[in-house]
């Protein structure tokens, strides 16, 4: 329908109309410029600054010693033993938290997907851990639950021992004996509700007629779950894993509060190591370089996340 109205193409198009078109476009865009500038300032400049700082030897406690060192800080980041441990810890922490909370979240979502009296209340209560501030949650776990003297875990253990006639149960020092599991459990407690919400949304988007058809065909509950529900949930699970990964990689509060990265560096993850570099060592260059590496890693994960979300929408549209 447009072919007829198009002006005939010539070898040298008149310059005038094009310029006015461009001017018009920009005139319309000018009011948006402040917003653009603001966005650039708050999102891009800090990162550029970080990039620049990462090429400097800069310890703020030694004034007058700031100088350009090229990629030396990155070399340090990739060769430092502590940072390698931190990367490993971050992977272990993130993977275990995300996988366990997806599994638990899936179970809870399946339960909540059924109708029962008080379902609304149960859902609200189950979401609660996700709404607790991370520092508050970490303090709660450290003191109210893990503390060897007055914590709930040892209290319960002792009560059970007393039931069977013993004087006192064992005093287990949970945080020192099982540092990584201690952090993981507290994070799983926080992140399970998040996974549950996403998977519950997925379950409730499941077409009822398919499930009914399966029932009519005499498929067992297990078979229905394996061959219909799980494939349907796949993208929701992927989304949960990716979003969860992006957030859990950045975990700081739990590590800082519960274990302080210890004992030794057994629970020191990347954000905590960067914090130590920044505020104990005051090596801004090294901290910036480590930060840049983390950002690049996160971008890779985020790209996958965005792709998953995009495919989710494609499926919705095509349906």
């Amino acid at each position: 329908m447009t072919t007829l109205t198009h002006p005939p193409r010539t070898a040298s198009p008149p310059a005038r109309p094009r310029r006015t078109a461009g001017d018009g476009k920009w005139r319309r865009r000018i009011p948006l410029l402040p917003a653009l500038v603001f966005t650039v300032v708050v999102t891009q400049l800090p990162f550029v600054a970080t990039l620049v700082i990462s090429t400097f030897e800069w310890n703020i406690l030694k004034p007058g010693n700031r100088h350009f060192v090229g990629l030396a800080n990155f070399k340090f980041v990739f060769t430092d033993e502590r940072l390698r441990t931190a990367v490993l810890n971050t992977v272990v922490l993130t993977a275990s938290v995300v996988l366990i909370s997806v599994l638990l979240g899936l179970g809870l979502a399946m339960l909540l997907d059924r109708r029962f009296a008080g379902r609304g209340l149960a859902r609200t209560l189950l979401i609660a851990p996700f709404l607790v501030m991370p520092v508050a949650a970490a303090l709660l776990w450290k003191h109210a639950i893990y503390n060897p003297d007055y914590g709930l875990l040892n209290g319960t253990l002792n009560a059970v021992y007393r039931l069977f006639g013993a004087d006192n149960g064992p005093t287990v020092d949970w945080i020192s004996s099982y540092p990584m599991p201690a952090v993981v459990v507290s994070l799983v407690w926080q992140w399970t509700p998040f996974m549950m919400l996403i998977l519950l949304a997925g379950l409730q988007a499941q077409p009822g007629d398919v499930l009914e058809a399966a029932r009519v065909d005499g498929a067992s509950a297990m078979a229905t779950f394996r061959h219909i529900t799980l494939p349907h949930l796949r993208q929701y699970i992927e989304l949960g894993i990716l979003l969860g990964t992006i957030y859990v990689v950045q975990t700081f509060d739990a590590v800082y509060t519960i274990t302080q990265g210890g004992p030794g560096s057994q629970t020191t993850n990347l954000p905590y190591e960067i914090y130590l570099t920044m505020f104990r060592k005051y090596e801004y260059g090294q901290a910036a370089a480590a930060g840049v590496v983390v950002v690049l890693g996160s971008i890779v994960i985020a790209t996958f996340a965005l792709r998953t979300i995009a495919s989710l929408f494609r499926e919705e549209v095509s349906r």
Partner: protein
């Protein structure tokens, strides 16, 4: 296409420009409200500081007309904030509390105003009354004061008198560490859930690092020799650390690797530990019947020793004035008032004598009201502070001042990382040998920059 690119460039440079303008605006505006009538004070959130925040307006501001705006932060956040503010010359604060660790380092960097001239001019301040070790720890290499002490502390042994009496044990006034280990073994389990001793096991240069270093000193060890040789894996350092780790593992508090000052204070005051080696300033809390189950039943002894005559540490929270301040006169008036004798009396009369910020002046201990309130621990505190020698705390000469730390910028990082490993040894996750071998490597890296 070209116009678009130009505009992009314009937008970016405009943004960068506005940032620069913003920076100079912030830097330029500080101090422009002039007159020196309002000063900004940044301080650590200890009880003594909260007291002064309450008392300032009705007394200091009323008398001088100088308004004081306080920012109070917990210790770790305070360190982060004050270091960045001073190091980047941001100039947000006219006065900040810093500790004995920071003074020599910051003085060398030229970040602090010297304060001797202010203190000398003010006869009522009576500089000669300040305790000598505290003055040494807050002085620069030129012998001038670079911070005025607000209160000072050393370390000592505190014990539950009832438990010792029940077991028929007398704790010597000047114990040795092996004696303390013996006593810890005897009183371990004296009451249900009670352990023999509480010692810091929490990683951190100011936590485990402080108590452990005093033990290392008295066992003949040091972090660095006079000519900057790292000594972390030396026999003396190893012996001290093994002793400390074994003692805390065998007779120490539950959850030792996670407990610092606060946890030990809890354990001691709730009768979960029979002895505790820590700061002299803890006594005030142990004697507070509102929070402590053993108030009035606490015995005190000097810091245990082995090879040295004394081994108590030395710390002081002190007022410093960053060079960036534009209100030096008003700020100095506040500092002199806050560190003065009159302020101590004011606290005693208004809030109670046990809350006096003590440990910095000889005259405090001559006050009859204070001697009565500080009862059993006042004397030991004063003598421990006087006996501490920050320039020479061990058996060999040192490259810097500091009893329980090494006054170099790298020590925050070095101390934190080494104590992380030792804390892991306390938790049974590694051995002392391995921890100190790794620590030695870190210490050698640090030492290298100082060897010339």
């Amino acid at each position: 296409m070209r116009t678009r690119r130009t505009l992009h460039l314009l937008a970016t440079s405009a943004a960068a420009g506005s940032l620069l303008v913003g920076c100079s605006g912030a830097g330029g505006s500080s101090g422009s409200d002039g007159g020196g009538k309002t000063i900004n004070v940044l301080m650590v959130g200890n009880p003594q500081m909260e007291d002064i925040a309450k008392l300032t307006e009705s007394t200091f501001t009323k008398d001088t007309g100088i308004k004081v705006k306080f920012t109070i932060l917990p210790e770790n956040e305070l360190r982060d904030k004050v270091t960045q503010d001073v190091a980047t010359q941001a100039g947000q604060y006219d006065v900040a509390t810093i500790g004995a660790y920071e003074v020599p380092i910051w003085e060398k960097n030229g970040w602090l105003h010297e304060l001797s001239s202010y203190a000398d001019q003010d006869t009522a301040f009576d500089k000669g009354d300040l305790l000598k070790p505290i003055v040494t720890s807050l002085s620069g290499s030129d012998g001038k004061l670079y911070a005025l002490p607000f209160y000072g502390e050393s370390s000592m042994l505190m014990y539950n008198k009832d438990v010792m009496a029940a077991k028929g044990i007398t704790v010597p006034e000047h114990p040795t560490w092996p004696q303390i280990a013996d006593i810890a073994a005897k009183v371990d389990g004296a009451e249900p859930g009670m352990r023999g001793i509480c010692l810091r096991g929490l990683a951190g240069w100011g936590e485990l690092g402080a108590t452990l270093t005093t033990v290392v000193n008295t066992y003949g060890g040091t972090w660095f020799t006079k000519d900057w040789k790292a000594e972390v894996d030396s026999p003396a350092f190893k012996k001290a650390t093994n002793f400390y780790v074994d003692l805390v593992r065998e007779h120490g508090q539950a959850g030792a690797a996670q407990s610092g000052f606060t946890e030990c204070l809890n354990a001691m005051s709730q009768k979960k530990a029979a002895m505790w080696y820590d700061a002299t300033s803890a006594a005030g809390s142990l004697e507070d019947a509102k929070t402590s189950k053993i108030a009035g039943h606490v015995g005190y002894a000097y810091a245990p020793t082995v090879e040295t005559k004394s081994s108590g540490w030395l710390w002081s929270w002190a007022w410093a004035m960053p060079k960036t301040t534009k209100k030096a006169d008003a700020a100095s008036k506040f500092m002199l008032w806050a560190s003065g004798k009159e302020y101590e009396k004011l606290v005693g009369e208004k809030l109670g004598w046990s809350r006096v910020p003590a440990g910095k002046r000889a005259s405090t201990y001559a006050l009859p009201e204070y001697s009565k309130a500080a009862g059993s621990f006042g004397d030991i505190t004063l003598k421990s502070i006087e006996a501490a020698d920050p320039a020479n705390p061990g058996v060999q000469p040192r490259p810097t001042v500091g009893v329980q730390y090494v006054a170099i910028p790298e020590f925050q990082d070095l101390g934190t990382k080494v104590t992380q490993e030792i804390s892991a040894a306390i938790a049974g996750k590694t051995t002392v040998d391995k921890a100190l071998k790794d620590g030695q490597k870190l210490a050698e890296d640090v030492a290298e920059t100082y060897q010339k």
